[in-house]
């Protein structure tokens, strides 16, 4: 329960922190940290407009997408507190419940019949397909490392296996979760959430036809997704056994660090060329695979 509450709270600050980091990095004053929330508030009060060519899918997709992220958040533990739902193989549930939300967004984009949205949908489907192996190889690595197969169990035993290599894996895990999160949430260098150029968009172009409450829901979904990944990052670098208040402090620190990293990344580099993205994403899977191989060899050595 505590984990879910922490995720919800940090999701509220997340977009504002990224924006703030970017404005400070560019020497501007920038909007306040709650500006995205206020913008969402404005959207909520507005009515939704749907194109006459769209059907039911377009109307239900944002809700399903939000629901899928909330379901995914339910299996993420916080410190020693187990997740609300946990069962063997719940990380598979985590990955595919998120994929379900994305699937609905993709078919909703196709539903609008716009030339851009189809293009965006195809890119989104392609890139998220490529990032899937990275997540699973990483989870397989953790699972082999601890011998357990659920988020709650893995993270509560991660630091007490007595294996001294844990620090390396927590750092690799942190790095890989950042990269996965950036791609899943359509941030630089794969996508650019700020662009107005339809032809270069991936995620943004799929939601061009949304307005009002539905658009607000889509934004909230993105923030939650960020916080969920931030929470996974927190779990791989902070041992579960520590004092609860220290844990809460560290959780906030990790989420803030994540937001600041995203902000800085987006300030000081340009976006990838579209056809470089597959290579970039596969590199992340490759790193996960190296981690997997290393742990496999170590495991064989440790438990001959």
């Amino acid at each position: 329960m505590a984990g879910l509450i922490m995720i919800l709270i940090s999701a509220m600050f997340f977009p504002g922190m990224i924006l703030r980091t970017k404005s400070i990095a560019s020497g501007r004053k920038g909007p306040g940290i709650f500006q995205p929330l206020r913008d969402a508030g404005v959207l909520v009060r507005k009515g939704s407009v749907f194109s006459t060519t769209t059907g039911l899918i377009t109307q239900i997709a944002p809700v399903i997408s939000l629901a899928s992220v909330i379901c995914a958040a339910l299996v993420v533990p916080f410190g020693h507190q187990e997740a609300l739902i946990h069962f063997e193989g719940d990380f598979i549930f985590f990955a595919y419940i998120l994929a379900l939300g994305r699937f609905f967004m993709i078919i909703a984009a196709l539903d609008t019949g716009s030339a851009f949205e189809g293009m965006g949908a195809s890119r989104e489907a392609f890139f998220s397909m490529l990032i899937e192996p990275a997540f699973f190889i990483l989870m397989a690595t953790f699972s082999m490392f601890t011998g357990l197969v659920s988020f709650s169990d893995i993270f509560s035993h991660f630091f007490i296996t007595g294996n001294h290599y844990v620090l390396i894996f927590s750092i690799i895990g942190f790095y890989l979760f950042i990269q996965t999160a950036l791609i899943e949430n359509s941030r630089l260098p794969v996508d650019d959430p700020k662009t107005h150029l339809e032809l270069t968009m991936i995620h943004e172009v799929m939601i061009l036809d949304y307005s009002g409450l539905d658009k607000a829901l889509i934004h909230i979904t993105t923030w939650l997704k960020f916080a969920v990944y931030g929470s996974l990052m927190y779990n791989v670098i902070v041992p579960a056994g520590w004092n609860i208040f220290l844990q809460i402090g560290l959780f906030i620190a990790v989420q803030a660090l994540f937001a600041i990293i995203v902000g800085f990344l987006e300030s000081f580099r340009a976006r990838n060329k579209m056809n470089k993205n597959p290579k970039f994403i596969l590199t992340i899977s490759a790193i996960a695979l190296i981690a997997f191989a290393v742990i496999l060899i170590l495991n064989l050595n440790l438990n001959p």
């Binding site: 020497g27 030339a115 851009f116 339809e198 032809l199 340009a270 060329k273 579209m274 056809n275």
Partner: protein
């Protein structure tokens, strides 16, 4: 008739209509084709005018190497006629022939691309409307069409782009313009108020106010046979170069924005503001509207303005040099610019590309050098020429031109200080020489701007023609994105930064 064309070595020029040789159409075509075979020749004006019941074709070809202009003309019977097309032989004429076809329904037989240019209000065929533009089509299972615009996501002008793509790869791009047609040429020819024409010329293309106003002012001065004082000439050059610097820096910002490089974008945006605020300090308008007027100036430069310009340029020059060095050495930016949207030298020559689009393909085409006017005549100027023709080259050309322009302005200001303070006030309604053809060329930041006018027996302007550099360069853009990724189109487009309203008029 021993002379087949009239050769002129000054820019702008005014000649009496009678002394422009009139050739028969076949001769006219052969001569144009022969001249344009030379790479240093390009056509700066070719249009038709209704005159005494027949259609007069006037063609002006500029030779960059010999620094001369050549004018000749031909007569066609008025109304619908069918003549031979030159476009297959000389592709750069395609757009002129399209324009003549659209305005006067002269059918050019064998024209490969006879499509509307801008849907003018007084076009010959009212049946030709936006909705029935004959788009090129390729059929195929794997191909899809993407239509963008005319309303775009950013705050830009309207234009429709239709891509034929194979997956992410663009096979063909067709650009349909004309949404902004305001009837500029007709207004300029119909109005008798000189000041009104000035204001109109300030606003034909909002981002090139000084360039257009200067081109108009020079045309009128040439027709009236007046020459403003040297101090005024220098001030105009300074205005033109300030405009170039401001737009080039702004474009660098926009290029960075398109590839999501925030640092480069915000720094360049801030620097551009410094420059346009300086222009405002000088003449009260950030875009230099009202700065250039025929015959004189309303905003003569003072020592205070000159000092301010120098100090701002020194500061901006240093900061822009350092930020542009960072931009063009950053790996992630280079990956987006290098070898993207390449235009070959041959393509640039055959589309008749001018300005930056030509100079990035190794073509030395710059009016300030080839047909210098005003103070450029007394000031040695070397155009910057790059070879690669890609987005990177167009970006780097801007950086080089900014530093060139800054040097130019410092030189101009020190010359200006040595000039006697002779300033005349603008003369809006001067007497123009009757029955004449006049043409003026100005190198705006985008490329050469060509204004030309024809006067009647009492010295009234009866026909006015404006040509923006974008008129040719849009085709270069369409060629540049072939076989590129569709997601690279925005950055290609921005690197050309062509004018919609300059084409639409």
């Amino acid at each position: 008739m021993n002379e087949l064309f009239r050769e002129i070595s000054s820019n702008p020029f005014t000649v009496s209509l009678d002394i422009i040789p009139v050739l028969d159409y076949e001769q006219f075509c052969d001569q144009a084709a022969r001249m344009l075979k030379d790479e240093s020749d390009h056509c700066v004006a070719y249009y038709a005018v209704e005159m005494q019941g027949s259609l007069k074709l006037i063609c002006c070809i500029a030779n960059d190497r010999d620094h001369i202009l050549r004018v000749f003309s031909s007569m066609l019977p008025s109304g619908k006629s069918t003549v031979r097309s030159l476009s297959k032989e000389v592709p750069q004429l395609h757009i002129y022939e399209r324009e003549i076809y659209e305005n006067h329904s002269v059918v050019f037989e064998g024209h490969p691309w006879p499509k509307p240019v801008r849907y003018p209000h007084n076009r010959a065929s009212k049946a030709s409307v936006m909705d029935n533009y004959p788009f090129y089509r390729i059929e195929g299972e794997e191909l899809h069409e993407v239509g963008v615009g005319p309303v775009h996501a950013g705050v830009i002008e309207p234009g429709h782009f239709r891509f034929i793509c194979n997956g992410e790869k663009v096979l063909h791009l067709e650009i349909q313009l004309g949404y902004q047609h305001r009837g500029v040429e007709r207004l300029l020819a119909e109005t008798r108020s000189g000041i009104w024409r000035c204001v109109l010329c300030d606003n034909i293309v909002g981002d090139t106010s000084v360039g257009y106003a200067l081109s108009y002012a020079r045309l009128i001065e040439s027709l009236a046979g007046i020459q403003p004082s040297r101090a005024v000439q220098i001030e105009r050059c300074i205005g033109l170069e300030l405009e170039r610097i401001a737009v080039h820096i702004g474009d660098t910002a926009a290029l960075c924005g398109d590839v999501a490089y925030q640092l480069g974008q915000v720094v360049c945006e801030a620097l551009r503001t410094e420059i346009i605020n300086t222009t405002q300090f000088w003449c009260g308008n950030r875009f230099g509207k009202g700065l250039v007027r025929p015959g004189g100036t309303n905003y003569k430069m003072t020592a205070v303005v000159a000092d301010r310009i120098l100090s701002v340029l020194k500061d901006v020059g240093l900061r822009f040099a350092s930020v542009s060095e960072r931009i063009y050495s950053l790996q992630s930016v280079l990956a987006r610019f290098e070898d993207i949207g390449q235009v070959t030298r041959q393509q640039a020559l055959s589309t008749g590309a001018v300005g930056m689009a030509a100079r990035t393909c190794g073509i030395r085409r710059d009016i300030r050098w080839s047909h210098p006017d005003q103070y450029y005549r007394d000031y040695p100027f070397e155009p910057v020429v790059l070879e690669n023709g890609d987005v990177l080259a167009r970006g780097q050309l801007r950086v080089k031109e900014v530093s060139e322009s800054i040097n130019l302005i410092s030189g101009l200001i020190s010359d200006w200080r040595n000039q006697p303070d002779e300033h005349s006030v603008p003369d809006y309604n001067c007497n123009l020489s009757p029955d004449s053809f006049a043409l003026s060329l100005t190198e705006g930041w985008r490329g050469e701007i060509c204004h030309s006018a024809i006067t009647d027996g009492s010295g009234n302007i009866v026909h006015y023609k404006v040509k923006d550099p974008s008129f040719h360069n849009w085709m270069a853009l369409a060629l540049a994105v072939r076989n590129q990724e569709i997601s690279d189109f925005p950055v290609c487009n921005k690197s050309f930064n062509l004018s919609y309203c300059g084409n639409d008029l």
